[in-house]
Amino acid sequence: MFEHTEHDAKSSHALMEISDVSKIFTTKHATLPAVDGVNLTVNAGEVLCLVGESGCGKTTTARMAAGLSKPTAGTISYDGQDIWSLDKAGFGNFRTAVQYVHQDPYASLNPIRTVEATLTAPLRKHGLAKNGKEAWEQATQLLRRVNLTPPENYLSKFPHQLSGGQRQRVAVARALSLDPKLIIADESTSMLDVSIRVAMLNMLGSLRDDLGVGFLFITHDLAIAKYFGWQGRTAVMYLGKVVEYGPTPEVINNPQHPYTRALLDAVPEPDPDAAARKLEGGGLKSAEIPSLANLPSGCSFHPRCPIAEDGLCDVKEPALAPVARRSVSCHVVQREDGHPGDRIRPPEPAGATSTS
């Protein structure tokens, strides 16, 4: 049982460890290293944000973490045990403890099941509720937990009678039904309206704080990662590899890898003055992501990188190494020990009043 008093993130134990995990898909024409040698840790009650563009391997990593697909190399251990060496009962326990919330609540709920049926099915199947009445009671509690109140109004509804935000709450309630230790949220808020998104994030935050649920939180929006994962860590993925990994405040407020900087520069700012100061194209040389089937030599980011050096970045692949309180895989950043920023973005003077 998770201890609610556990606050120091460093001393809390690793719930899930993803060690040297790779997933290589083979097609008739090519081999695609969707995930290549990824190392990540999710601690109990902690948030790990995984950010990056489409096709960078975020979802593949998440699916492997959930045990939905098997890595081609490396191990995923939950509570200290390799999940692919567990026996049937052990794997079953793992699957109840780790739950998945999908991106699209229009597709992830069974359209011909009422909310009650959706929520009570796992309770009955896993014997967490002895009879219909108990299941009903637990279902109402779950709905309260995700702020769908009064629950009686929702239990008999079908998904098509609910709005997008309500459906996503039902999907979260379903994930909570088996008392999970880890929730994998794959772009779970990206389809929601701005006003609903914050309510959703605040609700997920209360699960983390009150129930001690850990999160593997996948998003392409760094503002969301910052808001939800401030106390946790953030890993930035690019073409199947982690390129920057560290405490969220470090990664988002003081990014080191040129790719992280580009992602941050691309986030639209809810402030017309800041918007006017934006760099074109996030400072990248190209907006197109290279194909996994034909990866660039050396650092796979070098064709788009504004600080790539010929003869270095196109030849040698960088490894993750500690720089300025996080890990970064970039030759230039590692060499200059966290001060290449001036070459990418002119420093903003304090209280800048540029309005053009």
Binding site: R197, P268, D273, A274, T353
Partner: protein, 362 residues
């Protein structure tokens, strides 16, 4: 006349003081079963000036897409416009009553004068035709009866594709499924601009896209607008995008415009609780970590609107008078070229968006 600093309107051209689009009391009605109907747009009025960019913001179901479709008369069969007017002024200063155009004239007007970029770039293409053919069809259909040569078609298409930073050789010969979402969205923009329209309506052009792709599209749009000069109506639920692309913002709620103003007025000091709520719901990526509040509840059903102000059930400022009065747009600050700040709230004087704006000197 002192033009506001943020307006990109060409103050030198006399045409800029005549609105390109003048909408008055527009109502868009959808027929429902049992001979009933709902009004998805309930009396919207605004003027759009040449070269201006207006962001229509609001939650799903507030009527922003319906308004965009209504402006170009692209409503589905169940939709109609029972009252109101849309007055378009073309480059020669001739007025066109868009609602009275006959079918043939409407076909010409759309795309040549007013074009639309739809949400969901995949569904907007014919999947079995190459991009080059689809662009060619548009040029041929609007060629005034003459036959444009293949060379002319390729040249015009290529020029437009380069304008959205795509490689014409590769794109023209591709089928839609061979291209990424961001490329398709940019091609849609290129196609919409193919006939040099003076009005472009974009419906959530970046919603399903990645952050870097979104950035590329925002850059392309800003560049094209500076180059070619067209007026833009930009439909989005993301206020940060509005901050980047718009000169003006109009917030919609339950089929009405409830606040308008220059992008700076809206972001620095919104006076409708709904707009303020939307602004405060956007997490900032830079600076301090704020506690964000969502707007409680959900929008009312258009079929069963409450009396008085439609927002009052969700509004922390609501008083008894809100149940009886549906407030009209009150003038807060008068500005030229449709940039006046107005809000439809009885208590607008008490409402301020709380976001601290650093570095603003206007």
């Amino acid at each position: 006349m002192a033009a506001p600093a943020m307006s990109t309107t060409h103050a030198s051209s006399p045409a800029s003081e005549t609105p390109i689009l003048s909408v008055r009391d527009l109502v868009v009605r959808y027929r429902t079963s049992n001979k009933g109907h709902v009004d998805a747009v309930r009396g919207v009025s605004f003027d759009l000036y040449p070269n201006q960019s207006l962001a229509l913001v609001g939650e799903s179901g507030c009527g922003k897409t319906t308004l965009g479709l209504g402006l170009l008369r692209l409503l589905p069969r169940l939709g109609s416009v029972p009252s109101g007017s849309i007055d378009y002024t073309d480059g020669q200063g001739k007025h066109v009553d868009v609602l009275k155009l006959n079918r043939q004239a409407l076909r010409r007007w759309r795309w040549e004068e007013g074009a639309m970029v739809f949400q969901g770039a995949m569904n907007a293409f014919n999947p079995v035709l190459k991009i080059g053919e689809q662009m060619g069809d548009t040029i041929k259909a609007h060629a005034d009866g003459r036959k444009p040569s293949q060379q002319e078609i390729t040249d015009r298409s290529s020029e437009m594709l380069r304008g959205v930073r795509l490689e014409p050789k590769r794109v023209l010969d591709s089928y839609p499924h061979e291209l990424s979402g961001g490329m398709r969205q940019r091609i849609l923009i290129a196609m919409a601009l193919l006939l040099d329209p003076r009005l472009l309506v974009l419906d959530e052009p970046t919603t399903a896209l990645d952050i870097l792709t979104q950035r590329a599209i925002v850059d392309v749009l800003a560049e094209l607008r500076a180059e070619r000069g067209f007026a833009m109506i930009f439909i989005t639920h993301d206020l940060s995008l509005a901050a980047e692309l718009a000169d003006r913002v109009a917030t919609m709620y339950a089929g009405r415009i409830i606040e308008t103003g220059s992008v700076r007025d809206i972001f620095n000091d919104a006076h409708h609780p709904y707009t303020a709520g939307l602004i405060n719901a956007v997490p900032p990526v830079r600076g301090e970590l704020p506690t964000l509040a969502s707007i409680p509840g959900s929008p009312p059903s258009l079929a069963k609107l409450p009396t008085g102000c439609a927002f009052r059930d969700r509004c922390q400022y609501a008083v008894d008078a809100c149940a009886t009065t549906d407030p009209p747009l009150d003038l807060i600050e008068e500005r030229p070229l449709g940039l006046s700040h107005t809000a439809a709230c009885l208590r607008w004087q008490d409402v301020h968006s709380s976001r601290e704006v650093v570095g603003a000197d206007v």
